[in-house]
């Protein structure tokens, strides 16, 4: 049905997609797997006719049922494309938060799909004006019919209370609900092709599972073809019949999913699969520490953390919200304690309290180490772009010296410590004088880790430290964190939404739900026999 032949796409002369050929038949699910910058999204957007005008197709063509949608050397025929977009092929995106118009009710947005492809749309010089009148509901008969169809579509994707959803604005819905709305919108006209670009990456794990199940159900019921784009090999394996692995704009391997997983032909595919953290694999990183009777680095007892309502008013009483309730646990030297839970469960608030960044707390935090340090998720925005790496590495030392005269170091000592740390995180001397913008994501995260460790704290709080990184880089960073842990006798509080990462990295796991710690246990034990239903759900989700 869909054929992409020998497609190359270039931006400003630089080819980001090179000679890609893919084809899909009705009902088939084809996965496109690759790391960021591999050209998988550009391929999908080109197929959909959505790639920006600055992109140039330098070779090849895209066909839909033998109709040429676009070809190298010819401008895109927008009018032709518009007949296919939405009706024959539609797309769902990664970010359900931003992919819907924030100022329009979602029901209307889905309905727009029906209006755009309705048969008797006005023509002639006044078509825009009469179109607007139609949309505003003058022809009530059709409006009612459309409304009913939208409500049915909502029902079909598992949205309950359809009337309320119809009248809601996107911000009033949860991420999972928004993605369901997107799916309802994409499928309301029963297109033959659905392009899904990382549709679950931005969602919580349990929601992720539901969306995948929904996509699979729809696929078997409507028999639509699906192009599933993801960086997650495990996910692709669960959903796709065939997989195309992309690297640097090229398809390096294409074949039946199980065939590829059992006998990867390419070196790159092998590396990609090895890097993916998985429960099937032996835990190579976890040290197997068991908490003995040694003194904990940090002991938290009956800790509650409060959050003040942000409203800044002279008149209103400030409301306090309890975001973490009665948390008690210990972190021992040399261990990695994993903290898992869905977004909004209080993970970050808890870690901030331990770092002393939130003082509105009740309960007790006893620390037997110097001030704990933190590694952040986004290595792009957490380093000051105007400073050199050397300066950034010395900053915690300067801060410590300013706080406590006895810890003040000479300039030369600080510089030596920074060089030493640079080596420890596996980087060469030459990076000392570079700026963050000259570094890759993985290198920046190494610098962040170096910053956290340079004061030799006993505890490091790592908030999703590998979530923004590609899988192969992810593996390197986890390796590094583990090595440094052994070298420096560190304890980690390791926050992540990725169960597989936590499994690989942590000795013990703590599960949070709605501000409470509901279960703590050794990793292997917890995975084998979770006590709580919620934990089971969380673990089974990936």
């Amino acid at each position: 049905m869909i054929r992409i032949e020998n497609l190359s796409v270039a931006f400003d002369g630089a080819e980001v997609v090179k000679n890609v050929s893919l084809d899909l038949v009705d009902g088939e699910v084809l996965g496109v797997v690759g790391e960021s910058g591999s050209g998988k999204s550009v391929t999908a957007l080109t197929l959909m006719g959505l790639v920006s005008e600055s992109a140039q197709i330098t070779s090849g063509r895209v066909l839909f049922d033998d109709v040429v949608l676009q070809e190298a050397g010819k401008p895109r025929d927008q009018a032709l494309y518009r007949r296919y977009q939405g009706a024959q092929m539609s797309m769902i995106f990664q970010e359900p938060m931003t992919s819907l118009n924030p100022t329009q009710r979602v029901g209307r947005q889905v309905e727009e799909m029906l209006w755009l492809h309705a048969e008797h749309r006005p023509q002639g010089p006044w078509k825009h004006a009469s179109d607007a009148l139609l949309m505003s509901g003058r022809r009530t008969g059709q409006k009612e019919e459309f409304r009913t169809r939208v409500l049915e579509a909502f029902h079909a994707v598992g949205l309950r209370d359809e009337e309320r959803v119809y009248a809601s604005y996107p911000h009033q819905l949860s991420g999972g609900m928004r993605q369901r709305v997107m799916i309802a919108m994409a499928l309301i006209l029963h297109p033959r092709l659905l392009v899904a670009d990382e549709p679950t990456t931005a969602l919580d794990v349990t929601v992720q599972n539901q969306i995948i199940a929904l996509l699979r159900k729809i696929n078997s019921k409507q028999n639509n073809a699906m192009l599933f784009i993801t960086h997650d090999l495990n996910l692709a394996r669960r959903l796709c019949g065939r997989i195309a692995v992309m690297k640097d704009g090229q398809v390096v391997e294409l074949g039946e999913t199980e065939e590829i997983f059992r006998h990867p032909r390419q070196e790159y595919t092998k590396r990609l699969m090895e890097a993916v953290p998985s429960r099937m694999k032996k835990r190579t990183w976890a040290a197997g520490m068991t908490p003995d009777s040694s003194v904990p680095v940090v002991r938290v007892h009956d800790l509650s953390v409060f959050y003040q309502d942000g409203s800044n008013s002279l008149f209103a009483q400030k409301k306090k919200q309890c975001v973490v309730a009665d948390a008690s646990f210990e972190i021992y030297p040399g261990e990695s304690l994993g903290l898992v839970g869905e977004s909004g469960c209080g993970k970050t608030s808890l870690s901030k309290a331990i770092l002393g960044m939130n003082r509105d707390i009740r309960g007790e935090i006893v620390s037997n180490t110097i001030r704990p340090q933190m590694v952040f998720q986004d290595p792009y925005s957490s380093l000051n772009p105007t400073k050199t790496i050397g300066w950034l590495l010395q900053e915690p030392l300067r801060a410590a010296g300013a706080l406590d005269q006895s810890k003040a170091m000479t300039r030369a000592d600080m510089e030596a410590a920074a060089y030493d740390m640079l080596h420890r995180v596996g980087m060469e001397d030459k990076y000392f004088h570079r700026k963050p913008s000259q570094l890759s994501g993985g290198q920046r995260q190494r610098v962040s880790i170096g910053q956290a460790l340079i004061t030799h704290p006993g505890l490091v709080v790592a908030d999703e430290p590998v979530s923004a990184l590609d899988v192969t880089i992810q593996a390197q960073i986890m390796e590094l964190m583990r090595r440094l842990q052994q070298e420096m006798k560190l304890a980690y509080l390791f926050i992540s939404h990725d169960i597989n990462v936590v499994y690989q990295m942590c000795d013990r796991i703590m599960v949070m739900k709605e501000g409470r710690i509901i279960e703590v246990g050794e990793t292997e034990k917890l995975f084998r026999a979770p006590r709580e239903e919620y934990t089971r759900e969380l673990l089974s989700s990936s």
Partner: protein
């Protein structure tokens, strides 16, 4: 409702503080009203008499509260300078009431021009993939923004008044005698006010739309098969209006407070000219009321902008 109540309290508090500040300012600045009315040749007896007539012999605190009580009762006092007839001074309410319609109508016509032209222009500009049109609009708006308003007023007078003879320069027609003639005359000063503001608003809207065009929901709209025009007007415009609305609010506040220069150039008897002349003659009762009026206008316009925000973006009312 609670929100409106809160805003109302803020408004009252602000008006109180501003009135005190304005009152104090007139105690501090040099120059005596009595001297400025009677001139330096007057006898001390005559000065003392006038001082008593105007109530200036009492301490400032007493005067402030007496004045405030009068204002609250609706009595805005009388001007020191303008007389109604031989025996009576002009009441401030009447004085301002006379000039206010001129300024308000001028503001209304200007805003109509600004909104009516700048929004389609901004959308057109954001849509233009044509480099020539893009560059042309860039140059034109830049030039319009840079021209000082008095010069623009002179240009308009010369072009439309003297060359094209579309109106009689300086021939202001009072709204009381001929309303349509008044509006016809007003169109030209309104245009002089509007042109630079149109340029700014259009530029602002264009930039806001270009930013908004990168948003994910725009891609979603295209993926449904919507035309560029539809995406622009149905999806992008509303979201891009947020910063523009603030900007328009600033402009309204500025114009309603009186366009001093334009009123001068076109000899319009509006609030702006009244303000200038009252300040220079220390006509304190008039200035004090004008300051309160301007304060009220600014706060009220921002209140409207706030309401408009909530209408445009449903996310705000719940935050």
């Amino acid at each position: 409702m609670k929100y409106i109540g809160k805003k109302l309290i803020t408004l009252i508090m602000t008006l109180f503080l501003v009135s005190v500040a304005a009152f104090l300012a007139f105690q501090i600045i040099p120059g005596d009203v009595v001297t400025s009315i009677l001139g330096t040749e007057a006898t001390p007896e005559r000065e003392e008499q006038l001082r008593q007539e105007l109530g200036l012999d009492k301490p400032p605190v007493v005067r402030y509260f007496a004045w405030a009580a009068d204002v609250l009762r609706g009595d805005l006092g009388v001007s020191y300078r303008y007389s109604k007839n031989m025996n009576e001074m002009m009441p401030v309410a009447e004085l301002i009431g006379d000039k206010l319609p001129v300024t308000l109508w001028l503001a209304a016509v200007s805003m109509l021009l600004i909104i009516g032209v700048s929004i389609p222009l901004g959308v057109l500009w954001a849509r233009s993939s044509n480099h020539f049109l893009d560059g042309l609009l860039g140059v034109i708006t830049q030039a319009s923004m840079a021209v000082p308003s008095f010069f623009l007023g002179i240009l308009v007078t010369y072009l439309f008044g003297i060359l094209l003879k579309l109106f009689a320069p300086g021939g202001y027609i009072s709204y009381q005698e001929n309303f349509s003639g008044f509006l016809g005359y007003l169109f030209f000063p309104a245009m002089s006010i509007a042109v630079p503001k149109i340029a700014m608003t259009a530029r602002f809207l264009r930039n806001s739309m270009l930013t908004e065009l990168r948003a994910d929901y725009v891609r979603t709209a295209y993926s449904k098969g919507a035309t560029k025009r539809r995406v622009m007007y149905r999806h992008v415009l509303r979201n891009a209006m947020m910063p523009v609305v603030t900007f328009l609010g600033m402009i309204i506040a500025e114009i309603v407070a009186g366009s001093i220069v334009i009123e001068q150039v076109f000899s319009l008897p509006g609030i702006g000219r009244l303000l200038i002349s009252s300040i220079s003659t220390r006509d304190f009762p008039v200035v004090e009321i004008l300051i309160l009026y301007i304060t009220f206008v600014v706060i009220f316009v921002y209140f409207l902008v706030d309401i408009l925000y909530r209408v445009i973006d449903p996310r705000i009312s719940e935050a």
